[in-house]
């Protein structure tokens, strides 16, 4: 843990000791059994060998005054790493505009993933493909031969960096049916500063606007931009400042629900300008997912999700071609709540990678989630 993160933890942990904050604890624990196809792609677990896994999220929230609270989430995974996903102070409903200010570590307001980050609320096993699939592009200033040879290897950045947890500050609020948020962070949506210090001199910027025209329907749009390359990559091939290479991402999202049906979707268009030895190249990708969940009878649901990544053409090593293999993924899930806080779900994922040596992958996951 770096020094600034240690200080942040100490600062936030000291809050309840000094005041009359009421701290509430909670969490989720999930245990899963996984079996994937015995292939070599990044969607394969343990080379296809059947595997057990687990994950725990612990929440510690406290209210210092009516308007001031701190929120903390620690995630522990079966690789035994401890991730601090959320550690922020929130000042809510600041007069006269009713703004809410949040500082610390939180998830960036890009899209509507929301509480589906957590197994208890995620009808599936994975996050959507656009959050988990690694592209061929690294933020360590890749050379042209490396870039052209990395298709399908999964060595690079996500389109959206898993839960997009980052360190920064955010202002948000509502005006009638409109919700808005603006965040500054040390990373970008695909190269967050999660678990690290700022990698360059620029800050990531995210602006989001959402409208709820009727109960049960929310439409959102967000735009994010910022430098994504490591400054350690300097000097660039033509001595251009890495901070001038600004990633730009735009998205639209939808959430619709009625009766026993809930639907969520998101479409993202992103472009990374990349400095090569003799020129710059723009690497663009379009990603999407659409998922629906239907509750058949009390406690039992079926869910389906379709996701994809479409990589634009780029001129690499003299060939104009998609700079990574396109990906299509289908996920089907059945879940049953054994109790209000105990969810058992069976998920099947089928992944199609349009190129390379392992075009088809699949994963079957049985997951038990307990919330407390």
């Amino acid at each position: 843990m770096t020094l600034n993160r240690s200080l942040l933890v100490c600062l936030l942990c000291s809050v309840p000791l000094r005041g009359a904050a009421q701290v509430t604890l909670g969490g989720q624990v999930s245990a899963d059994f996984l079996k994937s196809a015995p292939t070599q792609s990044q969607r394969v677990f343990n080379a296809g060998r059947p595997t057990f896994g687990w994950e725990a999220e612990l929440f510690a929230d406290g209210r210092i005054t009516d308007n001031v609270a701190f929120l903390g989430t620690v995630r522990i995974t079966d690789d035994e790493y401890v991730h601090i996903d959320y550690l922020a102070v929130r000042i809510a409903d600041l007069t006269p505009l009713g703004l809410t200010i949040q500082a610390g570590e939180f998830d960036l307001p890009f899209g509507n993933l929301g509480e589906r980050r957590y197994p208890r609320r995620n009808p599936f096993f994975h996050l959507p493909l656009i959050h988990e699939y690694r592209t061929a592009l690294s933020d360590y200033l890749p050379g042209e031969p490396y870039l052209a040879g990395s298709k399908g290897r999964g060595n690079g950045m996500h389109l959206l960096d898993e839960g997009m947890y980052d360190v920064g500050a955010m202002v948000s609020g509502s005006y009638g049916i409109l919700d808005y948020a603006f965040a500054l962070s040390i990373g970008t949506v695909s190269a967050t500063g999660y678990g690290a210090q700022n990698i360059n001199s620029d800050l990531g910027k995210v602006f989001r606007l959402a409208v709820t025209p009727m109960t049960g329907l929310t439409l959102g749009a967000a735009y994010a931009w910022g430098a994504y390359l490591y400054e350690q990559s300097q000097p660039t091939p033509r001595n251009v400042d890495v901070n001038s290479y600004q990633q730009q991402a735009a998205e639209i999202d939808i959430e619709f629900s009625r009766g026993h049906f809930v639907m969520n979707g998101q479409a993202v268009y992103n472009t990374w300008p990349v400095p090569l030895a003799d020129r710059d190249v723009n690497l663009s990708v379009f990603g999407y997912y659409l998922e629906g969940r239907y509750t058949l009878f009390p406690g039992f649901y079926l869910a389906l999700r379709s996701s994809g990544l479409r990589f634009a053409d780029a001129l690499l090593q003299g060939v104009n071609q998609p700079w990574d293999y396109n990906v299509t993924e289908w996920e089907g899930a059945a879940g049953y709540f054994l109790d209000r806080d105990v969810l058992l779900k069976l998920v099947r994922t089928e992944t199609r990678i349009w190129g390379g040596t392992t075009p088809k992958d699949n994963l079957t996951a049985l997951q038990l989630v307990v919330a407390f």
């Binding site: 909670g26 989430t73 959320y86 939180f106 509502s174 009766g259 509750t295 406690g299």
Partner: protein, 265 residues
């Protein structure tokens, strides 16, 4: 003899009853044990169907200190805190005032009679359907006693979706999401406890107590309650607060009399 077993079961709770009530119940207790041959006839007499002449009332006041704790109020939803509305969530555990305690008392407190004899009779289901409101991201009331066979309405008063559900064995149901001023209903055809939640707002919870007799009451804002027209007899009166039974006592109902029974916790 069943009445004796009933009294034996609840006898530890007698110590919490006021002294005059203790004396009265002790006399009955002694009578039943010393004269076992008399018990069947006494019991049979007490469980005669209610009539205007052979019924009585129970009334009293319930006082529960704010420090007694509220399990439902402590139900915290960390995901709603992170991804819910921008404004602060209503949380009655963090802003307790003297006035609000009384208001919550009427929302969370019920007294009812337990009696196999009373339960064996059939009672007409009330024509007016009781309501379990969803208002201000809370259920109101948070404890709802109903008679077996009653249909409960679940109106949504908030300007957002709620999704009322229960996985209780007594009555599992899922009403789905519906908007403000819309309502769904459920008929409860088995006695027991039904824990009710909202699938969207995890902190919201309520309890429906499906009872086999109509002798129950919720206190008013001052904690005053009354159960009327109870057939003469000896019963167990149960005080339910928030999520659980907090006290049981034996009470004797005498024809034409109103028995005062206060609860303080």
């Amino acid at each position: 003899m069943e009445s004796r077993f009933l009294i034996m079961y609840i006898s530890p709770d007698i110590i919490t009853v006021q002294m005059n009530t203790i004396a009265r119940i002790s006399a009955i207790w002694a009578l039943l044990w010393l004269l076992p041959w008399a018990a069947p006839s006494l019991t049979a007499q007490q469980i005669e169907p209610a009539s205007a002449a052979a019924s009585g009332d129970i009334h009293g006041k319930i006082s529960i200190a704010a420090t007694a704790g509220s399990k439902s109020g402590h139900m915290h939803d960390p995901l709603l805190e992170r991804y819910g509305a921008h404004h602060a969530m209503p949380d009655d555990t963090l802003n307790v005032s003297a006035g609000s305690v009384q208001t919550r008392l009427s929302d969370k407190t019920v007294v009812y009679l337990e009696s196999r004899e009373l339960n064996e009779k059939h009672y007409p289901v009330p024509a007016k359907r009781p309501l379990l409101d969803q208002r201000g991201l809370q259920f109101h009331p948070q404890v709802l006693p109903i008679l077996l066979g009653t249909t409960v309405e679940f109106p949504n008063r908030d300007n957002l979706f709620h999704n009322v559900f229960s996985y209780s064995k007594t009555k599992p149901f899922d009403l789905g999401r519906y908007p403000k001023d819309d309502s769904r209903s459920v008929t409860f055809d088995k006695p027991g406890i039904v824990r009710v939640y909202c699938d969207i707002h995890s902190h919201m919870n309520a309890t429906i107590i499906v009872l086999e007799n109509p002798y129950f009451a919720a206190p008013d804002g001052n904690g005053t309650y009354a159960i009327q027209n109870i057939p003469e007899g000896t019963y167990t009166i149960v005080l339910w607060y928030d999520r659980d039974v907090v006290e049981r006592r034996v009470v004797q109902v005498r024809s034409g009399q109103s028995t005062e029974l206060n609860f303080t916790r």
